[in-house]
Symmetry: D2
Subunit: 361 residues, 4 copies
Amino acid sequence: MSHNTFGHLFRVTTWGESHGPAIGCVVDGCPPGIPLTEADLQPWLDRRKPGGSRFVTQRKESDTARILSGTYDDGAGPVTTGTPISILIENEDARSKDYGEIARAFRPGHADVTYQAKYGVRDPRGGGRSSARETAVRVAAGAIARKVLGETVRIRAGVVQLGPHRMAPETVDLDAVYDNPLFAASADVVPQWEAYLDEVRKAGSSIGAVVALEATGVPAGWGAPLYGKLDAELAAALMSINAVKGVEIGAGFAAAELSGEDNADEMRLGEDGQPVFLSNHAGGVLGGISTGQPVTARVAFKPTSSILTPRRTITRDGEETDLRTRGRHDPCVALRGVPVVEAMAACVLADAMLRHRAQVG
Amino acid sequence: MSHNTFGHLFRVTTWGESHGPAIGCVVDGCPPGIPLTEADLQPWLDRRKPGGSRFVTQRKESDTARILSGTYDDGAGPVTTGTPISILIENEDARSKDYGEIARAFRPGHADVTYQAKYGVRDPRGGGRSSARETAVRVAAGAIARKVLGETVRIRAGVVQLGPHRMAPETVDLDAVYDNPLFAASADVVPQWEAYLDEVRKAGSSIGAVVALEATGVPAGWGAPLYGKLDAELAAALMSINAVKGVEIGAGFAAAELSGEDNADEMRLGEDGQPVFLSNHAGGVLGGISTGQPVTARVAFKPTSSILTPRRTITRDGEETDLRTRGRHDPCVALRGVPVVEAMAACVLADAMLRHRAQVG
Amino acid sequence: MSHNTFGHLFRVTTWGESHGPAIGCVVDGCPPGIPLTEADLQPWLDRRKPGGSRFVTQRKESDTARILSGTYDDGAGPVTTGTPISILIENEDARSKDYGEIARAFRPGHADVTYQAKYGVRDPRGGGRSSARETAVRVAAGAIARKVLGETVRIRAGVVQLGPHRMAPETVDLDAVYDNPLFAASADVVPQWEAYLDEVRKAGSSIGAVVALEATGVPAGWGAPLYGKLDAELAAALMSINAVKGVEIGAGFAAAELSGEDNADEMRLGEDGQPVFLSNHAGGVLGGISTGQPVTARVAFKPTSSILTPRRTITRDGEETDLRTRGRHDPCVALRGVPVVEAMAACVLADAMLRHRAQVG
Amino acid sequence: MSHNTFGHLFRVTTWGESHGPAIGCVVDGCPPGIPLTEADLQPWLDRRKPGGSRFVTQRKESDTARILSGTYDDGAGPVTTGTPISILIENEDARSKDYGEIARAFRPGHADVTYQAKYGVRDPRGGGRSSARETAVRVAAGAIARKVLGETVRIRAGVVQLGPHRMAPETVDLDAVYDNPLFAASADVVPQWEAYLDEVRKAGSSIGAVVALEATGVPAGWGAPLYGKLDAELAAALMSINAVKGVEIGAGFAAAELSGEDNADEMRLGEDGQPVFLSNHAGGVLGGISTGQPVTARVAFKPTSSILTPRRTITRDGEETDLRTRGRHDPCVALRGVPVVEAMAACVLADAMLRHRAQVG
């Protein structure tokens, strides 16, 4: 993780601002010979793209990804060549007029004030580089990572808590996520949550949420001590997503209340001679290395900072003011964060796979 | 973060096993001209070292750090020279006899099973590389990082929740931490917590805990979008500590329940023309860049996995067995984790300081 | 240096194939507030672009660079914002028909055989990723690096040896380079060299050359022991240019014949209290750190591998054949290598400047 | 390559000064299960260690390497565990009294003046960090790299030019190198060279040399475009060795005089279906990727800067003086550079092997 690049061997470098001509990424280190076309990216991008329901921003973006390099069609369809894959997504609906006022005033909860403090200059249009728009290219990179991982590894995420509304753990069904506009991990909660989020939306307010992540099919052995721990890499990748304020692996904060007896994931012998764990408080990671169990995490998103209620703030010229953030926004940024969480996990796992193969063969 | 190295410019590489001849680290990229002797490291190491109370492992280690390179005394006392600082701590009390059984059986909750799966070989003596003993050198590196940061930046941590016992937020006093054997962030809870932890200890059991972290004096502007975010780097560094299962920045998971209005850290103008934030849900970081407010985080530790109650497990030879982990252990590994949390934060901040200076001057 | 990224803090990631839709790069870590438009890049690109004389390939490319991110115009003209700068150059004249045969046969001296061996697949059109076309984006990145370095640091290169024709050292004038179509570092040799290279060109042959590099205005102190040595970084950057087979710093291979007495760059005291060196065998670098003298290097380019005389080779299907490389080529690839050598040096120096500032302030 | 660490996956971090208590390194990323004891390191260290003949420094060092971590003996002898291998070599004969004067005056040709300029402080004892003594740990790391590479890859180097005395290319025999005290790649030249170097030595002078390197058994496919080119990595690694001023791959600077016809390494089909190259001007690398031919390079060493003839210089206090460098020195530093060249090549190749395995499997 280094400024705008993440990953060690499966490396993703992203660029672009919300209201510039385009955003994009370069995926380096991808193994060769993997079938890959733009059609492989689009379904994942479509899940994240704006305008899909009344619960997400009404910005109009087709989020069409173009692959500009790194694949070649030798007759049997395009495959990766092992060289860098450049992906470009044009910004189609960049209404800069919406953002005139915030060039001057710092929106509370946004990065306006810190970008200004750090760089002495910032692109205020739509939040510039700090806009969640950048996450589109993460999703594109994640789609490539999934192809590297193959079909055995399955990565799913979904909203399990919307503001004060928590889902009963036993009802969580990550296959339900993309069948409802709330990306909720259970069909049961949808009516209640829709009503709740409609209220939030109509009030011009916003709310936070928690997203659960699960990766199954990860073999034992990925990750590495001590600073390349799979859970540490995952934590960094997830925390780098806009609006994320917390990451748990396995039992997470609940583990703080457990005794050693209860937290121990006991083992029996499976028919294949591999360990069978009787529980998964570890979230599939021990000592930073995967156990073969599902890798599980939970991610806390703060509420969207852009709201219609005026908030007290200051301007870059040193004046106090009240600011009401107009423009098009998501009432709950975590919703469209779900495919981003999946994508970041896919990238981290693809990287871990390659690193493991490097050291252990 | 790459296997056994962390940091970009202030880089720490650690090595060593629990029961090998020594553990150590190499700190590279340290600015020159900083006064540094072994006496600067020892107070911090003493806070983490075993044997200090009945609540921590009874292993006898003086944890005496030797500086083998990177400083020179030109008459006015040793200062850093800008070259790598090698630190070595001998293992004095490495009773391998305690660990015979676990060479064969995998201790539940430990990294035994994953190291074996990954590498096909492991050093079972005291957990080898995965032992919390390694954290001693992190503390030494953190002591150097503190000197790089200078006295303006103050980094403190303390236990704010011990198992089910939570401290009232308004009583938290991080200056109280090293005055009690529980590293508790409040003197008030100590009697009750001591009684509780004594029970846990006598039962041969263990318990998890939550550690709060606060760094004050961090100027606005440290950190960097998008994958070098200060909170992402912090999350990785903290998650890399043994037994950590969750990291929150600022309001953390509680932010998931907040509305945009409540979560907004409104701003007024300070006398010095700098922003004054009216709250700190952000934990001192917006868009991955420090705001100038205190950087705050919370870290969840799982209970020590080594307990006296037998747990079901398997052996590397493919047999099922029950294992009772003898040896010397901490009933709550989070306690000695407190100086480690501080050290990791210090290293991340020193690195962020140098990276900021590089780009912005 | 890691696959398709180079630099530590001033980091350049490049992508693109010779005959794909475009090539490009992402420049990360650039300091903010530097005035930058596409007009700043174009003059440098124009120096390298094809079609400028009969001595370079007749491919028609305008090499127009677009800046897609990382700058913002706040009224006083676009400046860098500290976020990644994405540069895109479209491939306009990609005649794939020229390259049908080489999809099958491996061109001797080219990377065809090794890309196939490594990846099992390659883009044969124009050499794909291994084409010298990629160097255009290095030049664009170098133009940004020059702006980071400012006007004090001046980086110039030129051809000092064309095949068997060596220039007398005392006639070298790096200001003459861009005034002649041979990029020769002396106007005196041009008539003779033109006649010589015309012969080479008409024979469908090619020839190697040596390029000299000089960077003046580099202050003492840049670079770092031991594996971040300025000369080691420079050597890697220059050796990464297509067709480069050798790099010398200062006296280079001639130093192997010198005595310690002759090689010593003696010092006297300058009026400003700084050292004045009486010679510069070191090439401006001692112990990997700049001395304040001009940083000098020499770079050997092999002849263009594409020639009209048939050469014995094999095909990917395991047959022997003779191959004559048609298409448009440079009779001496070193000529257009001159701006690339300068660009790589600029990037290395900008990176060294930022790294120095990070550690020493 | 980053300050005191080199390598991407097979990573070596070194530390230590000439006259400190010890020098050492940490080798990270080593594959597990490789038999390794201190006896595997010592033969290589013995080749480099001082005191072996009158042609090398008379400093008395046993250069005994201790392995402090990263191996475990599970009954069948110590093997690598995949965790970092820490190696420590004590400095036994550190006579600081020899170096009193140079604490004040800058030795011409040495890094004294640049370390002082960069850091404002330096350890002058024996050159501190910039001493060639550091190369001992490179040799230890190289010994581990050789074990990673296995017996198929054979890496040899030797002196092929001593000052003005060049060896006839057809007489080069790299198996002869360690049978003569000059590390000469031919027994034939030894009498003449010994007489020559004796004169140099008795005059208190020094001389440069050229070392040739050859690695056989490197399979096709190692290395990577474009900034991870095998030859670029090799160039950086070799240029990072003390006193090296030039690196050539294959034909090197001679390629500048070759025509495309002569430089082309034509191919025929081998019995195994692999390409057979009819020459090796490329030095075993095309497009940054190994061809399967021997990887060849040549390295130019400058003369030892420490000589008995007084040279003009300045002091850190801003005075002009004449300095005669006493102490124990090598009349030709390239001699003991031979095992260092081999070691650096071994490390680069081991890293390339792991990186190739990561991406391509």
